[in-house]
């Protein structure tokens, strides 16, 4: 039977594909918005400069103004900023998750199968990292490194890897006693061969599912830092600092506030639904 969760899963997949396209084609989104206007002015679509001149800079342009969502307090195109914010969010999310998975897998595997003297210290260090609540460590690191995209990626990576490491180490600990691994070891496989050929391929599914959910956490953390004014530096748009910027005028100009709120919430919903859906799909117990 098709459950409602399936619908959410596929809606989430579609939304995420749309978001990636939106981010990739962000730079031309302004041209697309102005195209109908350009047609009405000049059917040959050749003189873009004159089109831009017609759309004179105007603060707080309402939605539906040639620019779909109007402009903000500094006459900046809201749609174009959303697209740029999508790039920032996806870039931070993917970069952080790449670092977290690499470090987490390395630590998780070494913590179970590494040299004996290294196992305990590694796993205790991982446990120690959990002593920090969610975003506190990231805030401390950003405070040291200063605001900006690279410090944010660094800070969130440091706080993201321990949960990957913990997941990998528990999975490896159970997998290493399964028959197919023991069998491979008995027939003379080295630890390196066991890990790369037998154990890690088993983990790709669960890591992919968990990554979706962790990326949503990272995107949320990035926009939180940017909202607080200690994330992505201000002229660079991020959904977080767009929300912070627009809330001062939210009673008179709600569009500039609602747009980033909606796109951020939908992104987080979608990543969670897709992650949950993937996990359910990949879980052999549901097969």
């Amino acid at each position: 039977m098709r459950r409602p969760r399936d619908w959410f899963f596929w809606l989430g997949v579609c939304y995420l594909i749309g978001l990636v396209l939106f981010a990739v084609f962000g730079p031309i989104v302004r041209d697309i918005q102005l195209a109908p206007l350009a047609k009405s002015l000049d059917p040959t679509l050749q003189n873009y400069n004159s089109v831009y001149d017609k759309v004179s800079p105007q603060t707080w342009a309402p939605y539906g103004h040639p620019l779909w969502l109007g402009t903000d307090d500094l006459a900046r195109d809201v749609v174009a900023r959303l697209a740029q914010g999508a790039r920032v969010s996806l870039m931070v999310g993917l970069a952080v998750q790449a670092v977290a998975v690499s470090v987490g897998v390395l630590v998780g595997v070494l913590g179970v199968l590494g040299p004996r003297w290294l196992r305990q210290p590694l796993m205790r260090f991982t446990d120690g990292m959990f002593a920090f609540p969610d975003i506190l460590l990231a805030i401390l690191i950003v405070a040291v490194l200063g605001p900006g995209m690279i410090p944010v990626i660094a800070a969130l990576s440091v706080s993201a890897w321990p949960s990957v490491a913990r997941l990998v180490s528990t999975q490896v600990a159970t997998l290493k006693d399964r028959e197919f691994v023991v069998g491979a070891r008995a027939s003379g496989a080295s630890t390196w061969y066991l890990v790369t050929r037998h154990i890690l391929p088993q983990l790709t599914g669960i890591l992919l599912a968990v990554s979706m959910i962790e990326i949503s956490g990272t995107i949320l953390a990035e926009s939180t830092l940017s909202f607080l004014g200690i994330g992505v530096r201000v002229p660079e748009p991020s959904w977080g600092n767009m929300i912070n910027n627009a809330r001062l005028n939210m009673n008179s100009h709600p569009t500039a506030l609602i747009a980033p709120c909606v796109i951020l919430s939908l992104t987080i919903f979608s990543l969670n639904f897709v992650g949950d859906g993937l996990r359910a799909r990949l879980d052999p117990r549901n097969g």
Partner: protein
């Protein structure tokens, strides 16, 4: 005896966590530019003068010595002085900010625990019916909706449109303070409420399927007593643990909520100090926040054996 061993192990782990946090904060201080000496010397001091002051303050000694010293100072309650013009002791700044954060966090966790356990229980006894679905949908929203999205929505509705509640904490407050705290507490409570609701529901659904519940039904225990005394008492343990961990969400949330509603609490102080590059204040705030997180989780872990005789018996 085993319980004593378990408790002392847990205490030791808590102490180690605190040491770990203080060490990370110390390392952060080491790698950041500028130290107490450069600040004490002022902007116009020559490098030689800074070096002299650094030697006088004992900052040129090897780091392990200074780390042990800093731990000693922290334990005595000395958190250094602020870099800002007033040169106020950081301890006073923290002491001023802490009550606000504690009030809002305590209010939020009380609401979250009350509403969460109530809604979760309600959903579990109406499993798979409309009420259950409604509660689950709402809690999904509550878990995923960021609090800086929820805050403007609530402000837009309750402060700007309906004009029931003040928009944020202002300096000249006309109404009693509690009115200014309703919206912040509501926003802060949203996520833990949703989490506790889901957890209570899951735990109750599990418990309601067990045999002793069937026995109780067969015995003719009245429904209300069955749900509260028999099922909820057994299902509540993971929820209690989660209340401890959701304190972490409250801390994260308090940065956003305090900044949004301009509440002069610990989160607001931290963010302002980061923007002003006032590192002693930042480090003290991180240290205090981290310590509260560790201590609260410790408290919950020590509370569990009191609530559950099975843990008392079987504690490793």
């Amino acid at each position: 005896m085993r319980l004593l061993k378990a408790v002392s192990l847990r205490l030791l782990f808590g102490a180690l966590s605190l040491l770990f946090i203080s060490f990370v904060v110390f390392v952060a201080d080491e790698v950041s530019e500028g130290d107490a000496a450069t600040i004490a010397a002022g902007d116009k001091a020559s490098p030689e003068a800074v070096e002299r002051i650094r030697r006088n303050m004992g900052l040129d000694r090897p780091w392990p010595i200074r780390y042990v010293e800093s731990v000693g100072r922290t334990l005595r309650g000395d958190l250094g002085t602020s870099f800002s013009g007033t040169k106020e002791p950081v301890r006073d700044i923290i002491a001023r900010a802490l009550p606000m954060t504690a009030t809002v966090a305590a209010g939020a966790i009380l609401i979250a625990a009350g509403v969460g356990i109530f809604l979760g229980t309600l959903a579990s006894v109406n499993q798979n019916r409309f009420l259950d679905r409604a509660v689950l949908t709402f809690s999904t929203l509550g878990v995923t909706l960021p609090n800086f999205v929820l805050a403007p929505i609530l402000v837009l509705i309750f402060a700007l449109q309906l004009n029931y509640l003040p928009q944020d904490w202002s300096v000249d407050r006309v109404a009693p303070d509690i009115y200014y705290l309703i919206l912040p507490i509501a926003v802060l409570a949203a996520r833990p409420t949703a989490l506790l609701t889901r957890l209570t529901r899951a735990s109750m659904v599990d418990t309601l399927q067990q045999e002793f519940i069937r026995t109780a039904i067969a015995k003719g225990v009245p429904p209300a007593r069955l749900v509260i005394r028999h099922a909820l008492r057994n299902a509540i343990l993971p929820v209690v643990t989660a209340i401890g961990t959701s304190f972490g969400f409250l801390l994260t949330g308090s940065f956003v909520v305090e900044t949004y509603f301009r509440l002069p609490g610990l989160g607001f102080t931290t963010i302002e100090a980061i923007k002003a590059q006032n590192s002693p204040v930042v480090q003290a705030c991180v240290l205090v926040t981290g310590a509260m997180f560790v201590l609260l989780n410790l408290l919950v872990d020590l509370l569990l054996p009191i609530l559950d005789p099975r843990i008392r018996e079987s504690q490793v």
